[in-house]
């Protein structure tokens, strides 16, 4: 079996969010970069679990980005995966990214394509669905559990107020979230091994972007907290009822 895991580079969860160039660019000064947590903790670890069950499984990682994404993909390789592919294009448009992944996936003949549920910077939840459409494959989004029995997959996915269990044959595209797998820490052997795993750089296919980010803005500052004394909790209830009119 062949699995393609999509890996994105995102700012660390504690990174300061600020913008430059008249609010058109994210201020990257001093920002630490990490593997998008959904890609790492759930998509990648799930693929690794599948390989542990069936060692003949081949895992390829793919990232779409410039050379500055390589440390991130090496970090991912330290957790697991056999080789990585970087599509050499800088991109901020989901359709462009998905088209690159779909082009590689088509060539590679994968049984499974895993993505994270969304990136923690763009929050699009778009790549998996677009890749599936471009490949004309079934897509199960927001998966919390995935089991494989031969070539039939059983997938739990989030719905409002619960979960849905579904069955589908391979090939399949899945977006992964909490529940799929447990976060792992790379060990020394993994980190050493990652240095020599192949990292292939491929040139992008030509695609027209469908969207463009014109500017960023920060949310308006909060007015400040109104503190109610601890011995008068009923006053808080009154404020929520009469002032904020919440109930």
């Amino acid at each position: 079996m062949k699995i393609l895991v999509c890996i994105s580079k995102t700012p660390d969860t504690t990174a300061k969010i600020a913008f430059t160039e008249n609010n058109t660019k994210f201020a990257t000064d001093g920002v630490q970069w990490i593997i998008n947590p959904y890609d790492e903790w759930y998509a990648l670890v799930k693929a690794i679990e599948l390989k542990e069950k069936d060692p003949s499984t081949v895992i390829h990682l793919i990232t779409v980005g410039g050379a500055d994404a390589e440390p991130i993909i090496r970090k991912a390789l330290a957790l697991g995966g056999d080789e990585a592919i970087r599509v050499n294009t800088d991109s901020s448009d989901s359709f462009t990214i998905a088209s690159q992944i779909a082009a590689v996936a088509k060539e590679g003949g994968y049984d499974l394509v895993f993505t994270g549920k969304e990136t923690i910077d763009y929050n699009g939840s778009a790549i998996g669905g677009m890749v599936a459409e471009l490949l004309d494959l079934p897509y199960v989004s927001l998966a919390t559990k995935f089991e494989l029995n031969g070539t039939t997959a059983t997938i739990n996915r989030e719905i409002e107020g619960g979960e849905e269990v579904a069955e589908a044959g391979l090939p399949l595209v899945i977006s992964c979230q909490k529940g799929m797998a447990e976060q792992r820490i790379p060990n020394m052997k993994g980190i050493m091994g990652a240095r020599t795993k192949p990292l292939k750089v491929v040139e992008p296919v030509q695609v027209e972007a469908l969207t463009k980010i014109v500017s960023f803005e920060l949310p308006p500052a909060k007015a400040g907290v109104k503190l109610v004394p601890a011995d008068q909790p009923e006053e808080l209830v009154r404020l929520l009822h009469e002032e904020a009119k919440l109930f």
């Binding site: 969010i17 939840s125 677009m130 897509y139 979960e163 503190l227």
Partner: protein, 320 residues
Amino acid sequence: MSVLVYIDQADGHIKKSSFEAASYAAKVAGQTGTTAEAIVLGKVSDDLTSLGRYGISKVHHVADDQLNTMDSKLYTNAIVQAVESTGAEIVVLSHNVNGKAIAPRLSARLKAGMVPGAVSLPDTSAGFVVKKGVFSGKAFANISLQTSKKIISLTPNAFTPVQQEGTAEVVPFNATIVAPAVKVTATNKVKGEVPLSEAELVISGGRGLKGPENWGMIEELAHLLGAATACSRAVADAHWRPHHEHVGQTGGSIAPNLYFAVGISGAIQHLAGVNRSKVIVVINKDPEAPFFKAADYGIVGDAFEVMPKIIDAVKKLKGV
């Protein structure tokens, strides 16, 4: 040319987030000088003419039983057929669990620029620009859609639906449907609970509550207010509460009218999932807890002393 809104349903009932999407679509239609029509898939028990109250003129209904559960491919095919037959240029959906599966497929199929998770109406003064949340609630981005066809998926609870007089005309729509590749075999719903993603009021607990046995007060307050319950990652990781209650940067992202946080420190990753809430209330015994900086109301105090009194006051207010 019209605006087409996809109306999502569960068990035959239209979801609240879809009424928001319908009303949003009607407003966009008004902005662009056209009308808003809707597409509904699968069996429904709700009265579809009532979508007229949200500004929808016509509802196209595909009552095929194969569409009673969501398969993103089938749904996309049906919606694309409706787009073709209505000549719609703009498709609106809710950015809910199903919208997240369907919208990107539609975008790729129609080569239509998409704004996933819109939070306000388009700005059409120069081009077509829609605001969405980015950096997990820490910022917004204005996205320009450069294609003639456009997809907007609307963040739940970000747009207040406007109701008016009116009934929509409901017409059957004959879409070609093939067998689904993804077959739903079971649905496990937490009974009697308000789904977190749709909730207007949310009561949430953190590690400060010491253990799962102390969640009675969170549940009681939620029950009294008709609120959903949520928790911090630390709590879900400790298996005190189910995973689906985990909110934050790596859990659910919510924007309720009230987020009521008890014994949660307010770590930056937690705030990322909840800071779009309209009103934030924090109960924490530590006056230095970072959550107070993001709060509208707060009590510095011990949850175990404060919460029972809050519950009593709410009971008195509700007359129970």
